[in-house]
């Protein structure tokens, strides 16, 4: 078995001749959290449905755990857990009953089923409300119930579509913790989102979707270098004479911008904090603060879509 759990090659989806996913290729490695990011309508959900065999593939091919989702959908669906966008449950049933139904569809034996339902509900913190009807559940609780279903399935891959959309910060934090837990259990996670700040904190790698294409793919720092140039922004707060010239002379620093009294913003191609500290001290200045700003996904995203706006409208 290859190291990649999901491989997409030239994956294409056309509705009535109009391509909504235009030949994308990517791979998700075992145990990785991979993010599909992009605005609504960029083709993220369509891609996910194709990987699950829930939507036909117009062109190209996909391999999920070495199975073809078109020809062997059951083999894929047995090992992949899916949390749809705004997941729904049967409101007239309790949380445990909802899980029991899907557990039966998975073909779990009774003893195994009850034990797994119990432990997965406990894992997502819904053990107390296991016998409450889902109608009484909040959005965040429903999302967690969806994750409990994936845990119960003991899936090797969890595919989460917009897992945090519409959740309050507290619920989002809880959900992201459960997603991190999945990773520590060796589950590979593919998640889609347009909420960047939150996603950045959990994803190992991301793919940036744009109009049915993958515009960029890689780790967040990589993307930062690609899109923002330079990449590292180091902020130095120090009191002293002639510091600006000294700092500007550090190898790797491309530009220095004064940012208020005794504050300088450095744009550099690598992390220049040690050199900056040494330069300040060597100049006899007093170093007050030194920080590096990681490239944020938000900035990458905004910048990318600003610079490609012309193409967007042309397309």
């Amino acid at each position: 078995m290859s190291a990649n759990v999901i491989e997409a090659k030239n994956l294409t989806k056309r509705y009535n001749g109009v391509a909504v996913v235009k030949g994308i290729s990517f791979a998700v490695a075992r145990g990785e959290i991979f993010g599909l990011l992009g605005p609504n309508g960029a083709g993220k959900t369509t891609t996910i449905l194709m990987l699950l065999g829930l939507s036909d593939i117009s062109d190209g091919q996909a391999r999920v755990l070495d199975h073809d989702p078109v020809r062997e959908p059951l083999a894929v669906k047995r090992q992949v857990g899916y949390l749809p966008d705004q997941v729904g449950f049967y409101d007239n049933l309790t949380a445990a009953e909802n899980l029991r139904y899907t557990a039966r569809l998975m073909g779990l034996e009774r003893a195994e089923r009850e034990q797994r339902i119990k432990s997965s509900l406990a894992h997502v913190g819904l053990a107390d409300v296991a016998n409450n009807r889902v109608a009484t559940f909040s959005r965040g609780m429903r999302q967690r119930l969806g994750l409990a279903e994936i845990l119960m399935k003991e899936a090797q891959i969890a595919i989460l579509d917009e897992p945090t959309s519409g959740l309050d910060p507290q619920a989002t934090a809880e959900l992201l913790n459960i997603i991190r837990d999945l990773k520590t259990q060796g589950v590979s996670v593919l998640l889609s989102s347009h909420l960047l700040e939150r996603v950045q904190s959990v994803c190992d790698r991301v793919a940036l979707f744009n109009q049915g294409n993958i515009a960029l793919i890689g780790t967040v720092p990589e993307l930062g270098r690609q899109v923002l140039g330079g990449g590292f922004r180091v902020e130095v707060e120090a009191a002293g004479e002639g510091l600006e010239q000294r700092i500007a002379a550090i190898p790797g620093v491309q530009r220095v911008e004064p940012a208020g009294a005794n504050r300088f913003l450095l744009l550099a191609d690598h992390d220049v904090r040690p050199e900056a500290a040494a330069a300040v001290v060597a100049a006899g200045g007093r170093l007050l603060r030194l920080s590096v700003e990681e490239p944020s996904l938000e900035a990458i995203y905004t910048r990318y879509f600003q610079t490609h706006e012309g193409e967007l409208h042309a397309a």
Partner: protein, 316 residues
């Protein structure tokens, strides 16, 4: 391209869940109670009537179904059974869409076949159980009210009626299921299904003779009747009523008999004694095409629903 695994994996699970849903659904319970209560009232009326008019009818028990004031039990069934079937089926598939449970369920290791087959089987089972209960109640009331046990022939004919009514219910359930697949909004599906029900059970039998007369060039009365009948038979309730009229009355030898009688004519067959009862098998043979037509119609509707559902996009 062959698919791996059985298309029916998960069928039983879906069926059981749907049956449980039906029997706990307030809508379904209300509909069934309504039909059963009306039916009991009708049968009580029929019993009173039968007691008054005849004491030596050899098929007294069957009159339970066909007598009873302005609306005999079979007419009630042909009118109300579709309503219950539509109530059971109009939100079967679009309900899953709207609750956003469909993609989650289909992400489990089952094919779509299992979901649709399961829903159909569960609906049919629920309808069958309700109709069997109703049937037993009617038989029981008949025993108590008439004080005469039915003979074997009557029981056999009543059983045929039960089976035909279940098939008739299956037709309407398949229609409701098709609407629930085609229309995303449950309200639209319900209204379209109810509109078709009203059209096919009430309006079509009223208007089809006029329509038929516009198309026929036959000058003899039988030719006109044939054309009218052919047109009217596009309605499943007309088929149901024809079957019932023949199966529940051993003296009826033709589905045109009542139409002829209305014109003051009688059906004369060479060598036959008028109004003499014919065996059950002969009765069934007379309406066999109608029975097959109902079954075929149900299958056709279900197949269309199946094809549309298989090709439908999962996403909302």
């Amino acid at each position: 391209m062959r698919r791996e695994g059985s298309a029916l994996h998960g069928f039983g699970v879906v069926t059981l869940k749907e049956i449980a849903d039906h029997f706990t659904s307030i809508l379904v319970v209300v509909l069934v109670v309504l039909v059963v209560a009306t039916a009991i009232a009708v049968v009580r009326g029929a019993i009173d009537q039968i007691k008054e008019i005849t004491a030596e009818d050899p098929f007294l028990f069957l009159r339970l179904f066909t007598r009873g004031g302005p609306l005999p039990l079979v007419a009630l069934l042909s009118f109300l059974v579709p309503l219950v079937a539509i109530g059971l089926g109009f939100d079967a598939v679009n309900g899953e869409h709207n609750r956003r449970t469909l993609s989650r369920i289909l992400a489990q290791p089952i094919y779509r076949d299992a979901l649709l087959f399961g829903k159909f089987a569960a609906g049919l089972f629920t309808l069958a159980v309700s109709l069997i209960v109703l049937w037993l109640l009617v038989i029981g009331l008949g025993l108590l009210g008439l004080g005469v046990p039915p003979n074997a022939e009557e029981m056999a004919r009543a059983l045929v009626l039960l089976v035909v009514t279940i098939v008739y219910a299956g037709f309407w359930f398949a229609l409701a299921l098709l609407c629930s697949v085609v229309f995303r909004s449950a309200a639209t599906a319900a209204l379209v299904a109810l509109g078709l029900w009203l059209f096919l059970t009430v309006l079509w039998p009223l208007f089809s003779p006029a329509l038929a007369d516009a198309f026929t060039t036959a000058s003899d009365i039988l030719g006109v009747l044939d054309t009218r009948q052919a047109f009217a038979r596009l309605s499943p309730s007309v088929l149901f009523n024809e079957i019932v009229a023949v199966v529940l009355d051993p003296s009826v030898r033709s589905t045109q008999q009542s139409m002829l009688a209305a014109l003051g004519l009688a059906l004369i067959e060479r060598g036959a004694i008028p109004d003499a009862p014919i065996p059950l098998l002969q009765s069934v043979l007379i309406v066999w095409p109608q029975i097959v037509g109902l079954v075929a119609g149900s299958i056709l509707l279900f197949v269309i629903a199946y094809v549309v559902f298989q090709r439908q996009e999962v996403r909302a």
